[in-house]
């Protein structure tokens, strides 16, 4: 070797060795040997399907790239969610890609623990068990528990059960609304959950119904809420929303007035309102005279004064509410939340139905038909019977299809013990949850995003599920498993269920629908259309209802609570917006994104009033023991002003003992404290059932909340328009500048966020995590405030007095025209681009973090550590967005990849960009359309028009940052006020630089 060659080799080796240290090695890159024809690298394919994260059944469009689902969005054509999704829906991908999914069939060892086995063996095992029982003529000793299924799978299950001779099936949903159904039957003779037209209501009174969180169909109702009571017309909010609940929930936080009623006395308030309406002769004219008479008689004992003492709602307030309600054109009263379901739930809902009826709103805002399919769920009492049968050894085989009753049923019901007595339990599940872990045979099933199926949340809404990608693991569709069993379990069964697979079965059922809806069209064309559209929607006529006479027999009992009557607190357990009944707890996004109200991450807590905290001498993070007659749990205290002092509240969803690395060993499950007794009238589940003693344990468990301060200290970050405010609109003063103004020759991207529409639901945050490859950092890192969210929803509690003043502000990069972050970067890693974006060049960033210091909005995140996506979560990463490594700063880009994609598409189509072509992920998913994005250079664009709204202001405008994000003030703290501004006064914005309320 010559000297020169040696030196060259040396140089190359040394450089390579040095560089290797700085760069992360790319994992294996495998090219397609034979490229699939319909996969164009770099071009996304979208598939329409249905979200199955909760029973609401929103339509989805799933974006796939190179055969991987990378983002879910609402299906704009779907009538339930009209293109929007909630935080749970956005996190559906983390169900699909969950690293803790069951990857192959498992069989329980006699010693405990599971051993993997092949699908053939697993199916044979199941078939043998069922065939054996059938041979012995004991098919009636087989039972099924499924969640709410509608359409084909539901039918297949029924057909299958009939074919096998299995009599017993429980359709189990923890949140089942039995009382609402029963109340409808009692009041109007129709056992159904009505269709609530929230969008039409001008005065909405919610008796605890958390319709912005989990109640029936939260995305749909959130949209309806801002189109209804929250809509702004002629500079004023058109309606009023009054929330009646012992706790200031997220829904209550969005109310114009919060009425902290004594728990379980909602019925009395409703009846007192009826009393006032009838006494003042303001019942709807359509009411027959005899009904008015009987009703008047019936509500006679409930005069406002008596009721005021019972409910803690002043009699004046009751009168006010009644008048406001009856004057509305129309109003709507809703009720039936999970948290408020007590021993008198049915009577309460009857009273609420009557309130609507008396005011003439039944048929207008409360409509029967189309009914919600949630009305098909089995009653809690039926489940109790099954548990009794299991406990008595009458059930010899139990099939569990994707349900988790061990976690969601009160321990006192004894489901767990009864389950142990069933000789053969087979679980068809995707996750090793508390119930699956107790099965003898585990058959892993596809997640909904990998499955064929259909779902009809409401009569007439036929959503179609299609697999958006190949199954990740060796899983099967539940329908296929049932059909496979049917083929081999016996000749008689096989002949009744001849379909080769569930897909064929599904198509056949849709042929029937095709015959009904579009008989003149070719089925294949119809099928293709339906696949593309995500389903087919029928208009279902509503049916008029009349008051039954049965209603007058309804006895209104006071709420019965079990537990010590004194020195104890009513326990309010409420469904979590993020975790629902606990099924969301294994999605890291849902854990890491702060709870909308408490802003706590990765935990459960018990909310106590400051007064209670004083009495117990506990502070935030002190662990207390909650003891009910049925159990004890320990939870850290969250001191919360938005709660009655006689109540403590615990969210449902945490406290898993199984269910994967993200869910396990966090907080406690409050369901363990609840009573197993069903409600008398409806046979439904009772959630508001116990009083608990609180004991200080002396231990501390620090809760991590991202709310450093609950008050905004008069800094005018979240502003409101108040009744008194008559400021004329003052344009922001131009401030002299040494530097020339930025030129934006083409587009000038900007955003408007309407705080009157923002409900603080976190959907935008989850969408941003999904779209922009934002890593999850875990509780310990969030405790250091190192969360990476590019958009966060700040929640300021300005005052919790007579009316709450809770203000939500989605905070993201403001893309300032005069950005403080830009001049301080020594290496130009951040700069103002010609389209008004504050761009960030990750490659160029050396990590001085000067920009983060200098950003007054604190929206720049630094990658303190390298991000981690446990396999296979990394498959969700958006290939259009760089995955950042440690040591660089990142922040909101206004979804620059979407801007680019829209431009590319416009160019391909030979046209300029149109308003609405570019929609960032946050704006796309916002259930209330609070976020609007577009080109500020185009004076006619929606964003430009909204930015000129007199309610508009810039956060911290006094710093002369000139943000591209304009916020529209919320109509705040109006309480129970007249609808219109007094004398139609102009709603002004605060003068620039003036720190407003």
């Amino acid at each position: 070797m010559r000297r020169r060659d040696f030196l060259k080799a040396l140089g190359v080796t040394a450089t390579a060795a040095a560089l290797e240290g700085c760069r992360r090695r790319a994992r294996r890159l495998l090219p397609y040997v034979i490229p699939p024809e319909d996969v164009v690298p770099g071009v996304a394919a979208w598939y329409a399907t249905v979200c199955r994260e909760c029973p609401a059944g929103c339509g989805l469009l799933v974006k796939t790239r190179e055969g991987r689902a990378i983002k879910v969005e609402g299906n704009p054509a779907h009538p339930v969610n009209r293109g929007r999704l909630c935080v749970r829906g956005q996190a559906a991908l983390q169900g699909l890609y969950n690293p803790d999914r069951i990857r192959q069939p498992l069989r329980k060892r006699p010693s405990g623990g599971f051993r993997p086995l092949s699908w053939e063996d697993a199916e044979r095992l199941l078939i043998e068990q069922l065939a054996e029982l059938r041979r012995q003529g004991r098919a009636d000793r087989i039972a099924l528990i499924t969640p709410l299924q509608t359409g084909s799978l539901d039918h297949l299950v029924q057909d299958w059960m009939e074919a096998l001779g299995i009599p017993r099936r429980i359709i189990y949903e923890p949140f089942a609304y039995e009382a609402l159904r029963t109340a409808s039957r009692i009041a109007f003779g129709r056992d159904a959950i009505p269709d609530y037209r929230i969008e039409a209501a001008r005065v909405l009174i919610s008796f605890g119904a958390d319709f912005l969180e989990t109640w029936l169909s939260n995305v749909r109702f959130a949209r309806a809420f801002v189109e209804g009571v929250r809509a702004v017309r002629d500079g004023a909010q058109v309606g009023r929303f009054i929330h009646v609940e012992p706790r200031l929930s997220l829904t209550a936080a969005n109310a114009d007035a919060w009425v902290p009623i004594r728990p379980g006395t909602e019925a009395f308030l409703a009846l007192a309102m009826i009393h006032v309406i009838l006494a003042e002769g303001r019942a709807a004219p359509s009411l027959p005279a005899d009904e008015v008479r009987r009703l008047t008689e019936w509500v006679r004992p409930y005069d406002p004064e008596t009721v005021a003492a019972r409910t803690d709602v002043p009699s004046d307030r009751i009168r006010q509410l009644a008048r406001l309600f009856v004057e509305a054109d129309p109003g709507l009263a809703i009720g039936g939340s999970v948290a408020g379901t007590g021993s008198n739930a049915t009577a309460t809902l009857v009273a609420i139905h009557l309130l609507n009826y008396v005011a003439g709103y039944v048929g207008r805002t409360v409509v029967f038909g189309p009914d919600s399919h949630l009305g098909h769920v089995s009653r809690f009492s039926e489940l109790r019977d099954l548990v009794a049968a299991m406990g008595a050894g009458q059930v010899e085989a139990l099939l569990l299809l994707d349900v988790n009753p061990v976690f969601t049923l009160p321990r006192s019901l004894g489901f767990e013990q009864a389950l142990a007595k069933v000789p053969f339990v087979a679980a068809l599940a995707s996750f090793m949850d508390e119930t699956t872990a107790r099965a003898h045979l585990v058959l892993p099933i596809h997640t909904p995003l990998e499955s064929w199926g259909d779902y009809e949340p409401q009569v007439g809404v036929h959503g179609l599920l299609q697999p958006v990608m190949r199954p990740l693991f060796r899983t099967r569709a539940p329908g296929d498993i049932l059909l496979a069993v049917a083929r081999s379990v016996g000749e008689d069964v096989a002949s009744k269920l001849p379909w080769p697979d569930f897909y064929t079965y599904l198509r056949e059922r849709w042929q029937a629908l095709h015959q009904r809806l579009a008989p003149d069209r070719d089925f294949e064309a119809f099928w293709q259309d339906v696949l593309r559209q995500g389903g087919v929607w029928e208009t279902v006529p509503s049916e008029p209802v009349r008051l039954t006479s049965e209603v007058f027999q309804t006895k209104l009992e006071p709420l019965v609570l079990e537990g010590p009557p004194s020195e104890s607190w009513t326990l309010l357990v409420y469904p979590s917006l993020h975790h629902f009944d606990g099924r969301g707890a294994n999605r890291p996004w849902l854990q890491e994104i702060p709870d909308p109200v408490t802003k706590v991450v990765w935990d459960a807590w018990v909310e106590v009033h400051p007064e209670t905290a004083r009495r117990l001498s506990v502070a935030m993070g002190d662990v207390v023991e909650l003891a009910s007659p049925y159990g004890k749990i320990e939870l850290p205290v969250y001191v919360y002003e938005g709660l009655r002092p006689d109540v403590v509240a615990v969210p449902i969803g945490q406290g898993h003992t199984q269910y994967g690395r993200y869910a396990q060993a966090r907080g406690a499950n409050p369901i363990e404290l609840l009573s197993p007794r069903p409600e008398a009238i409806s046979g439904g589940r009772v959630w508001l059932s116990v009083r608990v003693r609180l004991t200080k344990t002396g231990r501390r468990y620090p809760l991590v909340s991202t709310a450093a301060r609950d008050r905004q200290l008069g800094r005018g970050i979240a502003r409101v328009v108040t009744v008194e405010e008559v400021h004329p609109s003052v344009p922001e003063r131009p401030v002299p500048d040494m530097y020339p103004k930025h030129e934006h020759p083409g587009y000038r991207w900007g955003m408007v966020i309407d705080l009157n529409a923002c409900i603080g639901c976190n959907a935008c945050v989850a969408a941003c995590y999904a779209e922009n490859n934002i890593p999850v950092v875990g509780k310990a890192e969030v405790a250091l405030r190192r969360e990476m969210a590019w958009i966060r929803v700040e929640r300021y509690l300005e005052a919790v007095g007579e009316y709450p003043d809770v203000r939500f502000v989605p905070m993201l990069c403001q893309h300032c025209d005069n950005a403080p972050c830009e001049p301080v970067c020594p290496v130009y890693a951040t700069y103002h681009n010609p389209e008004g974006l504050n761009a960030m060049v990750y490659n160029q960033c050396v990590g001085t973090r000067y920009c983060a210091n200098n950003c007054p909005y604190k929206v720049r995140c630094f990658n303190w550590l390298d991000p981690v996506w446990p396999d296979p979560l990394h498959l969700q990463l958006n290939p259009d967005v760089t995955v950042r490594s440690k040591g660089v700063v990142e922040k909101c880009t206004f979804c620059i990849q979407r801007i680019q994609a829209a431009k590319d598409q416009a160019k391909d189509e030979g046209r300029p960009l149109r308003d609405g072509d570019v929609v960032p992920a946050c704006a796309q998913t916002c259930p209330t359309d609070a976020i609007v994005f577009g080109d500020l250079n185009d004076p006619e664009s929606r964003v430009a028009r909204l930015a000129r709204d007199p309610r508009g202001y810039h956060v911290l405008a006094e710093l002369n940052t000139r943000p591209a994000v304009t916020y529209l003030k919320k109509f705040g703290s109006w309480g129970i006020q007249p609808f219109r501004n007094p004398a139609g006064r102009q709603i002004g914005s605060l003068a620039d630089g003036q720190v407003g309320r």
């Binding site: 700085c22 909340s705 991202t706 709310a707 450093a708 301060r709 008050r711 905004q712 200290l713 008069g714 800094r715 970050i717 890192e781 250091l784 405030r785 190192r786 966060r792 700040e794 300021y796 905070m811 403080p820 001049p823 301080v824 970067c825 020594p826 290496v827 130009y828 160029q844 960033c845 050396v846 990590g847 001085t848 973090r849 000067y850 983060a852 210091n853 200098n854 007054p856 909005y857 604190k858 630094f862 990658n863 303190w864 550590l865 390298d866 440690k886 040591g887 660089v888 700063v889 911290l956 710093l959 720190v995």
Partner: protein, 439 residues
């Protein structure tokens, strides 16, 4: 005062082969440095997340140390250059120590911004030179000004130190043998001590002193602009440049005392670095401490008087909130303790002086820490305010200790290889009247 001959003997004695104590000190310093290197390697491998940064406090201990060490550097230049220009002849004996301190302090300070970076392996991207990356630096960023300020400062102070050493190196060349002699010979640039050489030497030294003098003001002004140019309440203030310069000199003088008092004892140089020297430094400390105290008061006054809610919140938190214990400790160290030096008995009591100097060092470090992390903790968004005080973790403590080790390593090596008393200059002071100096 000693005779010419004794000066040589005394100074050369300091260069004699060291004893066990010296090696122990070296080993200790080396061990701390090695540990710090380990800590840094952990930080490099895993990311800055291993440090204790929390929330909006994205600048913390490393930047504190940077400012602290730059401050230390300052009094060296003050003593060697400014006092030289002012013909304060008493400075001669401590000027070499101060200059060496300056150079090593700047060397230490320069490490911290690099350690602080998210991707320190790209630190050279901050240096503007034509490159094939096609990238350039942003001259609007105060961090780039820092690069220039610190770079210039290092170069000028190193040259100043070296030029001052030349006649002494020549003297050493004559008195040593072997490889040392060859090294000194090389370094002394063939100095023969002719009249011509002395004439050139004096004007060069004077010029360098004149060049270094504005740097005392400019370097720390530029460093202070890292903060003053930012939008952060508690930083964005016009008082910062003079405030930081005064603080720098205060901390630097304290460091001079911290170093020279043990040094003159260990090396037996009491005849050269006399109590009078120490007393003069103590007087300067009182003056700068008063300036710094005035600046503290001024900040609070402006915050209160301006009616700026953001500014007020920061200072409320500083004096009465989470940072109150640290803040009042700082006031005690920097404003109260130095006042005792007004008493002659205190400032002539060597060990009292040393303890006071140490306290001032602590106080000045705290001052930077409070300004940096305290202001960042309470800026515009209450949502992002610090819910707990930022606490450094072991990595930061280790690297901080490593900074001291690095500084002392340099200093220890220096005192054993170069004369800590400028022989030529001391002789000149001894033989001539002060007004003849430097002409």
């Amino acid at each position: 005062m000693a005779a010419y001959g004794r000066i040589h003997a005394d100074v050369l004695r300091t260069l004699a082969p060291p004893g066990r104590g010296y090696y122990t000190a070296l080993a200790l310093v080396g061990a701390v440095l090695a540990w710090a290197l380990y800590a840094w390697s952990v930080q490099l491998a895993r990311g800055l997340g291993v440090a204790g940064y929390r929330g909006a406090v994205q600048w913390a201990v490393y930047i504190t140390n940077f400012v602290f060490w730059i401050g230390i550097a300052h009094s060296g230049t003050l003593i060697s250059a400014i006092l030289y220009l002012f013909r304060a002849r008493w400075r001669a004996a401590i000027s070499r120590t101060s200059e060496a301190m300056t150079v090593f302090a700047v060397l230490t300070a320069g490490l911290f911004p690099i350690i602080h970076l998210g991707r320190p392996w790209y630190f050279y991207w901050l240096i503007p030179y034509p490159n094939q990356r096609g990238l350039w630096v942003n001259f609007r960023s105060p961090l780039i000004w820092d690069v220039f300020a610190v770079g210039t400062y290092f170069m000028v102070s190193a040259v100043f130190l070296y030029v001052g050493l030349i006649p002494d190196l020549a003297a050493l060349r004559e008195r040593t043998a072997g490889w040392r002699r060859r090294v000194y010979q090389f370094l002394s640039l063939g100095w023969r001590g002719t009249q011509e050489e002395w004439r050139h030497y004096r004007s060069a030294y004077l010029l360098l002193a004149a060049l270094a003098t504005p740097l005392v003001v400019s370097v720390h002004s530029v460093v202070s602009w890292d903060f003053a140019m930012a939008l952060v309440p508690g930083w964005h203030s016009t008082i910062f440049a003079p405030y930081f310069v005064a603080g720098a000199i205060l901390s630097g003088l304290a460091m001079v005392l911290t170093l020279t008092i043990p040094l003159r004892r260990l090396l037996g140089l009491k005849d050269y670095i006399t109590d009078r020297h120490l007393e003069n430094v103590a007087k300067l400390i009182v003056v700068t401490s008063l300036i710094v105290t005035y600046a503290y008061g001024c900040e609070f006054f402006i915050a209160g008087y301006s009616g700026n809610a953001f500014e007020q919140a920061v200072f409320r938190e500083r004096a009465l909130g989470t940072y109150a214990p640290l803040f009042w400790l700082m006031v005690f160290c920097n404003s109260v303790v130095p006042l005792t030096l007004l008493v002659r008995q205190v400032r002539t009591h060597v060990w009292a002086l040393w303890v006071i100097a140490l306290l001032i060092n602590v106080g000045m470090w705290l001052e930077r820490f409070i300004i940096i992390t305290g202001s960042l903790s309470f800026d515009y968004e209450p949502w992002y305010w610090a819910d707990a005080i930022y606490r450094p973790r072991w990595v930061e403590y280790s690297i901080m200790a490593g900074g001291f080790a690095w500084f002392f390593l340099g200093f220890l090596l220096f005192v054993k290889h170069f004369p800590v008393i400028p022989m030529a200059e001391v002789k000149a002071v001894l033989g001539r009247r002060s007004d003849e100096l430097g002409s």
